[in-house]
């Protein structure tokens, strides 16, 4: 039997993860439903008019997804839970795929169904109590793609940091951004010999705008390609290494 990936073992690992996470999943969805229902009903009670708060769905979808991804490997860092997790007879790849699936594709699917059901429910409530017209909710699948790419960073953070992965990642991101901003400014200053950033005279820089445009195009294309096709696999691979090398 393949020691890296076996479909039967993977499905068993996935079932294991779903059963053990379903309670938290349901509690979180219940809490979101409660908050959104309150946001929907309160204006109606006060003013007699209300609309389903569909504009709040997207931020909630992203935020909850990132937090969920940041927590998914918590068990691996706990000595007792980690022992169960690491001695369960499935490969590191199967363990990663299972966690990846429940925090990305399955999460998107569950949230899509949840938002559709909630919109239907709230539209019904609004029609009965306030006589308002139904609000339409459209899920932007492009956003789901962006989410799946960006959540890979949170998944990696969950495997890497022992505690508070979400906050530590935000902090690490902030520090990195500061570092790169500082680094870019220094380079820019040295390259163009600029001493005063508030009074840059573009004409004085003697730039070849045609070549600059090509360079910027290439940079944008490179950044786009890296983001869409390389970033997520890179962080998935790093997370895999973290699982394979984890000791408890």
């Amino acid at each position: 039997m393949n020691n890296y990936f076996n479909l039967q073992r993977f499905l068993q690992t996935l079932k294991n993860d779903i059963i053990r996470n379903s309670r938290n999943y349901l509690i979180t969805l219940g809490a979101i439903a409660g908050i959104l229902t309150s946001i929907d009903l309160l204006p109606g009670i006060i003013t007699g008019k209300t609309l389903v708060p569909v504009h709040g769905y997207l931020p909630l979808f992203m935020l909850m997804g990132y937090i969920f991804s940041s927590l998914v490997f918590n068990e691996m860092h706990d000595p007792q839970k980690g022992l169960v997790f690491l001695t369960t007879p499935s490969s590191s790849l199967e363990k990663l795929f299972s966690k990846l699936l429940i925090t990305s594709l399955l999460y998107v699917l569950v949230m899509w169904l949840f938002f559709q059901a909630l919109t239907l429910f709230l539209n019904g409530l609004n029609a009965i109590f306030f006589g308002t017209e139904p609000t339409r909710f459209t899920f932007h699948w492009g956003i789901a793609r962006i989410f799946i790419i960006t959540q890979s960073v949170f998944l990696f953070a969950s495997g890497y940091f022992r505690k508070n992965a979400f906050l530590k990642l935000l902090f690490a991101g902030f520090v990195l951004q500061m570092f790169f901003s500082f680094f870019s400014i220094i380079n820019f200053k040295l390259f163009f010999n600029i001493s005063d950033f508030h009074n840059i005279e573009i004409d004085a820089l003697d730039l070849d705008m045609g070549r600059m445009a090509d360079l910027i195009k290439a940079l944008v294309y490179g950044a786009r390609f890296t983001f869409l096709w390389l970033m997520a696999p890179f962080f998935w691979f790093m997370t895999y290494l973290r699982i394979a090398e984890k000791e408890v």
């Binding site: 020691n3 022992l83 690491l86 369960t88 007879p89 490969s91 408890v248």
Partner: protein, 281 residues
Amino acid sequence: MITIENLNFNYPKQSNLFNDLSLNIQAGSIHGLLGKNGSGKTTLLKIIAGLRFPNKGQCKAFGYETRYRSPEFMKELYFVPEEFYTPPVTMKQFVSIYSKFYPRFSTQQLFEYLKEFELPEDGKLSSFSYGMKKKFLISFGVATNCKILILDEPSNGLDIPSKSKLRRILASAISDDRSFVISTHQVRDIDQLIDPILIIEDGKVLFNHSLEDISKRLSVKAMDELPAEGVLHYEKTLGGYLVIQEKEDEESLAIDIETLFNAVINNKEKIREIFSDLDKN
């Protein structure tokens, strides 16, 4: 079954816990792993289970290097640690989640063990006491029928009747192709169950011999007076002394593991000398 060769291990910023430790664990026995506090018993068990990686040397189980936690190896190993975690599920859910990973898992055996331990067949694991959870995990581990069963302090937290039941279950479940490794300080709880006896000290295997070999080379005698020489270890009793000596005649009481442990720890050189012919083999 398990081969450890020239193993070195240390925790970060600490001196070596194991120095060139080599060990062979054969199938068909219940190995008793003994040692003082901090001698590395639990760490050794974790290395065998692939949860800790050696700095040097290797640990292999039926050809698989344990540190890679290959599923083909992990399905043949079950580890019941001293401090454990049980997920917030019912017993039946636990069995449904984890049993599928172990190809020879027997539900019938599990129910027999649960009955023996007087545990219910179902119930929320989170509502169980520490001892009940431990009995459930031991029952599950034995019922997996995996080749290596590791038990760290299995009798800790068990009530008095359960300790003899534990001995009965383990004795009935051992077979020629299975090996149990039990680490414990409560040696009286597993007396007459473990064979061979493995003692680790100062990062090495100090003693690794079967009860048969021990009984051929050491004798335990109850004496009124302490002999002038040849005493490896003695313990004061109500009527005199319990003395361990190198065997010279056939007369001997059954060897008590706690007394043997003290004899080995306090007379390392002499014991090594007595068992030297076996160590060479």
